[in-house]
């Protein structure tokens, strides 16, 4: 307020005011623009230095890697815009795959039964995360850090006690496996290049997420609860329901990704998935989501996941030492955060 008072008086003529907001400054206030510029630069760099990166096949495999991180990132971005985090999303992917796999194997049911049980479990985990956050008021960072460790322990302990191993049994002979694989992990060919179905799912989820966020009442509420929960409550937005719903959306996307992993590899390693939650968060932040909530875009998170996929695969294609990968990832994140804080200051103080 005080800074607003000291600001010089606004320009008198409306025409002048229009002129002062150039196309560039308008563009810069879009959350995903920074990520888009970054993605183009990174693509051009790898295109220049790594000949194996250039063919369409390589792009297809980059897009595949991007989609496996991009699908959960859709929900993680929405959750972040709603002002919360979910650190349990990475291991929840593994948990979902383990539940589906072990349920169908141990109870010798149709694969789809296991898939649905797993969905119920994933939504329940999201619901519990959300409920704990809204009822206790404890930061979601801490609540989901707790559930992250719990899920991680459960993944290892239950898998070993049920299968006697660190991985689940191969489920490829179970009824319904083939149809489930068609849905979650098939591929098709475009012009001789194999495209994984997760890419289509990813695009679909990004479109749905973007529409929900920008065109529906729920989307308005997501922005609002992340931007200012007390103000939202004062005008009648059901803050608790919105937040719990967002955690459940993360649960859903984690489940979906888990199903892909299960049907792509037939068995699931109980220890994987740790650390992926940060990749989802990086994708969302690189894509323009504010850590403090209230601002961001689903398309941005998709671009963020694409940048991650390019860096991940590009380093291999370029023949660089992959040890450097996380250094680049960290530098990328830092750059994105600096850009975001600049954008946010513009958005808040610009006139």
């Amino acid at each position: 307020m005080t800074t607003l008072q000291t600001r010089p008086a606004p320009a008198p003529a409306p025409d002048e005011r229009y002129a002062r907001r150039s196309l560039l400054s308008r563009l810069l206030t879009r959350p995903e623009v920074g990520a888009l510029v970054g993605a183009i630069v990174i693509y051009l760099v790898f295109f220049a230095v790594a000949p194996p990166f250039r063919p369409f096949e390589s792009l297809s495999s980059v897009l595949y890697v991007s989609s496996t991180f991009g699908i959960p990132a859709v929900a993680v971005a929405l959750l972040m815009i709603g002002g919360e985090f979910d650190l349990s999303a990475g291991v929840a992917v593994t948990s979902s795959a383990l539940v589906a796999s072990m349920f169908s194997y141990q109870f010798t049911t149709n694969m789809w039964i296991g898939v649905l049980v797993s969905l119920a479990v994933a939504l329940a985990v999201g619901f519990i995360n959300g409920l704990l956050v809204v009822k206790t008021g404890i930061p979601s960072f801490l609540v989901t850090l707790g559930t992250f460790f719990m899920l991680r322990g459960l993944n290892l302990a239950l898998t070993r006690s049920i299968t006697g191993n660190v991985a689940t049994n191969d489920v490829s002979n179970i009824d319904g496996f083939n149809s489930a694989r068609k849905v979650f992990a098939s591929s098709f060919s475009v012009g001789g290049v194999s495209i994984r179905i997760t890419l289509l799912w990813w695009i679909l989820f990004v479109i749905i997420g973007t529409y929900v966020l920008l065109r529906t009442r729920i989307g308005n509420w997501i922005f609002a609860v992340g931007g200012s929960a007390p103000s939202s409550r004062a005008v009648g937005v059901p803050v608790a329901r919105v937040k719990i719903g967002l955690f459940m959306a993360v649960g859903f996307m984690a489940w979906f990704t888990g199903m892909h992993i299960l049907f792509a590899f037939n068995t699931v390693q109980s220890g994987v998935g740790i650390g992926n939650e940060f990749i989802y968060i990086v994708a969302a932040v690189v894509g323009g989501c504010l850590l403090t909530g209230g601002y961001g875009s689903v398309i941005g998170a998709a671009i963020g996941a694409f940048i991650f996929g390019m860096a991940n695969q590009g380093i291999v294609y370029a023949g660089w030492n992959p040890d450097w990968f996380y250094f680049f990832l960290g530098a990328l994140l830092l750059g994105a955060i600096l850009l975001n804080s600049f954008v946010r200051r513009r958005a808040e103080a610009m006139r």
Partner: protein
């Protein structure tokens, strides 16, 4: 005389054995501004909370358009057309103006929101209040304090408020911005709304108010129509005339330096005419 939109008669509120407010009379009719003045702890917020439906009064009566009411929630008050614009305004700074305007009351067209309608309506409603925004898509945080206040007011008006309660709308604003808000209060009055304007600044209250309720330590210090009180008398009452006089006496006894200050205070007291009103007319019903 027509029935006032809101009338409190001898209203009071106890929190346990603490008497927060007692014996308050207040009314506001359509196209009228009633100002509630008082220092910190005078009972202004308790009074707003009663009118806004956040708390219930423990004595007296509260009537809306002639019918007695007991509100159980702010929603209840809102359904009776009584809207409160709190100091923090209940806006989300990073969201565009139109999204804030319709937040919680989004207009749907099928599954999606009718964004075009909401944008146009926001623009038009703000224009009616005299704010010409070049772009309703800009984050509301980019508006000035006064403009944000006005968005909150026009939002309340659009969603059917008949009585607006404004909780210290000018408290955090500079001189110029305060003027902007006062203009919108007058505009709201001209559109036939009743306005309850809470403030501790008599210079803001006097030009726009039709009636003035002064509160002090939970009690009514006076309730005047505009014709019954001058701006200086209002200021004097607000400044706590008796205390000023006392302070002036104390300073006079304290030494040479203080005597000069005491003289100035004494002159001011005289100028404001406190000696005239602080004894006589307090508590008078209009």
């Amino acid at each position: 005389m027509t029935t006032p939109l809101v009338r409190l008669t001898d209203a009071g509120k106890n929190y346990g054995n603490i008497i927060a407010l007692t014996g308050v009379n207040l009314e506001v009719g359509a196209g009228e501004v009633t100002c509630v003045l008082g220092d910190n702890g005078a009972g202004k917020s308790t009074l707003i909370k009663i009118i806004a439906g956040l708390h219930q009064h423990s004595h007296g009566t509260y009537e809306v358009e002639g019918g007695e009411v007991q509100f159980s929630s702010p929603r209840d008050a809102l359904d009776h057309g009584i809207a409160t614009v709190y100091q923090d305004l209940a806006v989300v700074p990073l969201m565009p103006v139109w999204r804030n305007f319709f937040l919680g009351n989004e207009v749907k067209k099928g599954l999606f929101m009718n964004i075009d309608f909401m944008r146009r309506t926001t623009k038009k409603e703000l224009l009616d209040m005299g704010i010409d925004l070049r772009d309703v898509d800009q984050p509301i945080g980019t508006l000035s304090g006064g403009e944000r206040q006005c968005v909150a007011i026009s939002r309340a008006v659009y969603f059917g408020a008949k009585v607006l309660i404004l909780d210290e709308p000018t408290a955090a604003l500079g001189v110029k911005q305060s003027g902007v808000v006062l203009r919108y209060i007058i505009q709201a009055r001209e559109r036939g709304l009743g306005v309850i304007f809470i403030t501790h600044n008599p210079h803001h209250a006097y030009p726009v108010g039709d009636r003035f309720l002064l509160l002090k330590r939970g009690q009514s210090l006076g309730y005047y129509r505009k014709s019954e009180i001058t701006r200086d008398e209002l200021t004097a009452l607000m400044a706590g005339g008796a205390e000023l006089e006392e302070l002036s006496h104390e300073l006079q006894n304290a030494g040479a330096d203080s005597a000069a200050a005491a003289k100035m205070l004494g002159e001011e007291v005289h100028e404001l005419g406190i000696d005239r009103i602080s004894s006589g007319s307090s508590g008078e019903k209009s």
